[in-house]
Subunit: 639 residues, 2 copies
Amino acid sequence: MPKVRFEPSGRIVETVNENETLYELAARTGIQLESVCGGRGICGRCRVIIISDHIPVTSEDKKCISEKDLERGVRLACRHKVDRDLTVEVPEEFKRMGQVILEKTYVRVNIDPAVKKIALCVPPPSLDYPIADFERLKRVLVISRSGELKIPLKLLSELPEFLRKKEKTEIVLRDNEIIRLLDNENKRIYGVAIDVGTTTVVAYLMDLMTGEEVAVKSDMNAQIRYGDDVISRITFTMERSGGLEVLRDLVVGCINDLIQACCSSAQISKDDVYEVVVVGNTAMHHILFGLEMQSLVFAPHIPVVTDSVEQKAAEAGIAIWKEGYLYSLPNIAGFVGADHVGVLLAVEADQSGKVQMVIDIGTNGEISLITPNGIASTSCAAGPAFEGGNLAFGMRGAKGAIDHVRIKDDLKVEYSVIGNVKPRGVCGSGVVDAIAEMLRLGIIDRSGRIVEEIDSPRIVVKKGESCFIIAHENETDTGESIAITQNDVLQIQYAKAAMYAGAAILMKKMGLVEKDLEAILLAGAFGNYLDPASARTIGLFPELPLDRIIGIGNAAGAGAKMALLNKELRRRAIEIAKKVRYVELAAQPDFEETFYSALYFPHLDTSRFPLVTSEIIRKSKMCFSKMKNHSISKKEKVI
Amino acid sequence: MPKVRFEPSGRIVETVNENETLYELAARTGIQLESVCGGRGICGRCRVIIISDHIPVTSEDKKCISEKDLERGVRLACRHKVDRDLTVEVPEEFKRMGQVILEKTYVRVNIDPAVKKIALCVPPPSLDYPIADFERLKRVLVISRSGELKIPLKLLSELPEFLRKKEKTEIVLRDNEIIRLLDNENKRIYGVAIDVGTTTVVAYLMDLMTGEEVAVKSDMNAQIRYGDDVISRITFTMERSGGLEVLRDLVVGCINDLIQACCSSAQISKDDVYEVVVVGNTAMHHILFGLEMQSLVFAPHIPVVTDSVEQKAAEAGIAIWKEGYLYSLPNIAGFVGADHVGVLLAVEADQSGKVQMVIDIGTNGEISLITPNGIASTSCAAGPAFEGGNLAFGMRGAKGAIDHVRIKDDLKVEYSVIGNVKPRGVCGSGVVDAIAEMLRLGIIDRSGRIVEEIDSPRIVVKKGESCFIIAHENETDTGESIAITQNDVLQIQYAKAAMYAGAAILMKKMGLVEKDLEAILLAGAFGNYLDPASARTIGLFPELPLDRIIGIGNAAGAGAKMALLNKELRRRAIEIAKKVRYVELAAQPDFEETFYSALYFPHLDTSRFPLVTSEIIRKSKMCFSKMKNHSISKKEKVI
């Protein structure tokens, strides 16, 4: 039978029968050509360039392809059978591409998933061709990875009947393993990308043939009943025998519910889902795979494994196709997990020619400094303040939370509330806004002290602590006023100083300063809600012009989707995780000094924040001049 | 740390600490040096040649190594620490070797099993070396196979505690997978080679560090209650739902009992057995792995799989170490299975410069013609006659069976009985002996007819059928005489003609004649009991001088042991199975003619058996002259 050589890979594939088209042959080698009509000669999308030969132009070719392209050998792959040896080029742009949303920008992903559906025509055995069933199948199946074709014994046992039922068969292949013999040719194949956060789990159901996102569902991580943060979860597993299994069952249940919800919404069967690609922080990762976590909590915070891990979904308790897989991106360190690798993959950190800083703010914040000379990453123990924890009126970014705050020059407060209801508290982005505004107006000084001397009914002392009232009792759902207390300011100072110190130490390690940074990318839900200007004002990260501070949304989830749609990206994720230079802040001799300097607003060294500093000075001057008109002593306002 | 380059592999390995000796380093790279004392400088066996450098001679070196060898750089590996980069050669003869018995001859096998025990010194993590547990282990472990180091998640979870318990650790590695973390350094490691015959199952417990056979046990295949031969077993699985599982459970139970018996006899724990290497015919193989067998029974007799198959022992129900493996050598065709591949491996068919024929006689006989230009194999449906089936007084080669027969010129019969008891019947080797003797003495003619005309009390007609009495009623256990009937002769004719036709067709396919054959190797239990002269006389295989007809015993079992002790031999077995040219007798146009010509004793064409023919003519002449003296008519002797 004639052979086709595909460039640029150089792979050579023999046709299985004289009716096989170039389109089918390409699909069989794992090259998914762009196509809408599915090889019926209508859409004109499945193009290849025939470079070895001049083959006749069909009427469909003529209709769909420009004169110039016809001349350089472009043809519709589905309209040409292979009647002689050919060399064919498939440029990247001719391949089917998917899109992954990275907050307003789209990342184009070449659709080349680990899981593929492949049509095969396995010739029957005969006395002249007495070859075993599996070996006959092997002879017509082109697998891309080096290494032997594998098949679970369960499927191997079904193979004889399957091959004898019809001439043309379809199988589902994952890398070099057959994971399903398909009895229905019209089946589509799906995968799920999952971002397992400490707080929230998000599942994206993806069509592995088109790259399309078919459904998205999210829910709270059910483990939350055993603690809000990673440390309390780990402690739970250490203190309670069987605790690891308890947490594992909870997150597995959560994942299964989300997969079921996605499948119901897309009206497909769970059996058509073949792979779950998961990202999460190292602790979530370890819990999901049932790995002990003691060494994560104590310095030097060593994970059991950082390389990518996979397991048969059935063994992991994940309810998809029984021979499907659960796959996790690699981790970087004890507190820089696969979710951050997902972020780095989504921003193509390994191929970036720019100097960029990626910040994922959370109880445990991760920062990476991406440069053409390498990537350095660290984790910062920011504490729960940015998520509303340890604050007098703090709450999560849920219904009833004040999420944005503006303070007018006359100290009148404007705020927005999630769900448009009466406020019940204030979430991280609201607190950051409030503190930035207080700072700009001189209500707090650079050391963080609430300037009690200012004469305003909003500045009060409650239980011996100075506060700034954002919402008066008559405005709130609880009937109690909502305020930012002196302690709240301190909590945010600690949190932002931890983040800033991490960023500053990374820059120092890489020999860079602020002006070298081309962008700061804010990943994750908090990074998305956060007002970049406010965050910059309090000195949460190095000062950059606002147009270079960009929220990129759930980049970890985007990275998981990309790894689901393209297996080469998994290899790249592993490379990224390996080449990252992990910087342990606790091991840095200058960490303390860097941290304490960053406790100031925006920083002890104001020359690092020229824009913010000039704004604060300007504003507070304006403000103080107005303040002087008031005359009520603060004492009278004590409640 | 200094590095050592090992020749001829060229592998480069870094030392883990300054105390590591060349002996330990070699072990860590999977090179098992000859040693008795275990690296204590006493036995003088662990030699290497240091080729990069002249390193000082120690007193132990001097004591154990000749002047000449010292000069060319030979040193005791256990007496030299690595204090600089070295290049070291390890010739094959310096490696630890095991021996596998192949009936009186020993096959020397380089001990390089898939399963190895490896000592490691994994440095602890620190703030300066914050590497995950598994990745730290990877850095000190040199695995021979390309591909990633793997570890079951269950063991991965135990890794943190394991690594922190002591500085020096030991693991059990199978290829590139860690299958056990050893808590006791003194543990030995074992494997079991198993020959699963249709009738008998034999298990050999082998020490994987020395290559020593520690115990052997055998038992009947418990499946026998569902039929004596392969076809009836297959039919059972097709006719009875769940039948395959029934047979699988029986053979698995049988294997587990034998492993337990071996372990008890060697006083070791089943948990120290890490691998079971199995050989068996294709049907036994398919049953063991739970594969459907319908397509085996109908032409063209296609197996589900011919390549080697492996499975976690626990999944297969095999009771050894929970993460251990069940591995089978590959099959060649529907009726040439892994047992025959074992035979071909044991006789080193791929490296033979000779022309040899290997014959495994049984209900289903397998024949291979090994030549420097390739190997051709076939299977012959000989039927059960050689195993005592379908014969008037036939029985298996068990206690009470006449296994050897000599007939004197005066027709007095001498025979031996298995177990030295009164005979109850006659087994295959006895029947072949008897018929050969009858032929030599002219009691049967070349067409197989019992010459009733001969006047002897041993030649009688029973139930209308001519017989030759071997044991009179007063000699037997049953009180009934034991005879060879005309039908018995016919059964043996069919059986031997099938075998001979297979051999003849293979020779023809390869363009060879008898004189090209340097040896005929008779494998298997029957081949061992069989008298080669008698088999040759009846024309069971091509005529060769007797000294070139060699019984090689359980070569299939020897092949399984070799594959257990050396993983490279598995690759060779796969190569052998792939390169064998399988000849399907039923598809040969000249099969019928070849078969019918071979029905004659020794053959229709006597020029193919010059030695036998001249012997028969000489003997029968002598005999007939004596016969003439008798005068009792045959009619009087009818019982």
